[in-house]
């Protein structure tokens, strides 16, 4: 049953990700709320589970000339430094603190999503 639940959570996350809406942000709460997986592990699973699909998608986009190659490195290089820092910091604090912060993050993100919808309407 747990196996099915994991696949379904992945499905939900992947679905939104495939639609370009940040599926990871849904996968993490699904894993923590419905499967009781701790915050750090859930975040880890999120990062890892999207890798393979992303690679395939990147390959397809690359072949279709949809990737603007010249901006990739200028963004990745500074981002990478902070990504490492962020990951270390997240694993340093407690799961409950991380969960709380993530929850706030989600609520802020959702407000931005609402704004985005009403701006275009």
């Amino acid at each position: 049953m747990e196996i099915l639940l994991m696949i379904v959570c992945g499905l939900a996350g992947g679905l939104l990700g495939g639609m370009g809406m940040g599926g990871g942000t849904l996968l993490i709460p699904l894993l923590t709320i419905f499967l009781g997986i701790n915050q750090k592990l859930s975040q880890g699973y999120n990062l890892l589970s999207f890798l393979i699909m992303s690679l395939i998608a990147i390959f397809i986009h690359y072949k279709n000339n949809l990737i603007d190659k010249k901006v990739v490195l200028p963004v990745v290089i500074p981002a990478l430094i902070f990504s490492i820092f962020g990951a270390l910091l997240a694993n340093f604090i407690s799961n409950s603190s991380l969960r709380l912060l993530f929850g706030i993050f989600l609520m802020i993100l959702s407000i931005f999503q609402f704004i985005k919808v009403f701006k275009s309407k």
């Binding site: 992947g14 992303s54 990147i58 963004v75």
Partner: protein, 123 residues
């Protein structure tokens, strides 16, 4: 090198890149949601290309940060397999649905679900 000095947006670009990385590493995701607007508004890249390029940017970030998560936690790789399976299948379906569903409706539903989930995690 000269081009660097004349780029008025350089500060914005650097700060945004830093935030994307920070979000990716600290929250284990969400960097894409900041990256797409960055590419569209500051780099002036069209929507479709922004999404595609974002994937290319986020990938190495996730690769590196996930390595840190692996060393700091005991990842169950079997669980990861099941989750990845779901994600990959969902992703294919999602890419398919992208053209068929009303994006705005989906976005509103998504926003509501996100808010409720966030609230649940805070309370």
């Amino acid at each position: 090198m000269n081009k660097l000095k004349f780029d008025k947006n350089l500060v914005k670009k650097l700060i945004s890149s830093a935030i994307i990385g920070l979000t990716n590493g600290f929250f284990g995701g969400g960097g894409g949601m900041i990256c797409v607007p960055l590419l569209e508004n500051i780099y002036k890249i069209d929507n479709k290309k922004s999404h595609a390029t974002t994937l290319a940017i986020i990938f190495p970030l996730s690769l590196v940060s996930s390595a840190i998560y692996i060393t700091e936690n005991s990842i169950d790789f079997l669980h990861l397999l099941y989750i990845s399976l779901g994600v990959t299948i969902g992703g294919v379906i999602g890419a398919f649905l992208l053209k068929k569903l009303n994006n705005k409706v989906v976005r509103i539903i998504f926003a509501v679900v996100m808010f409720v989930a966030g609230l649940k995690m805070v309370i």
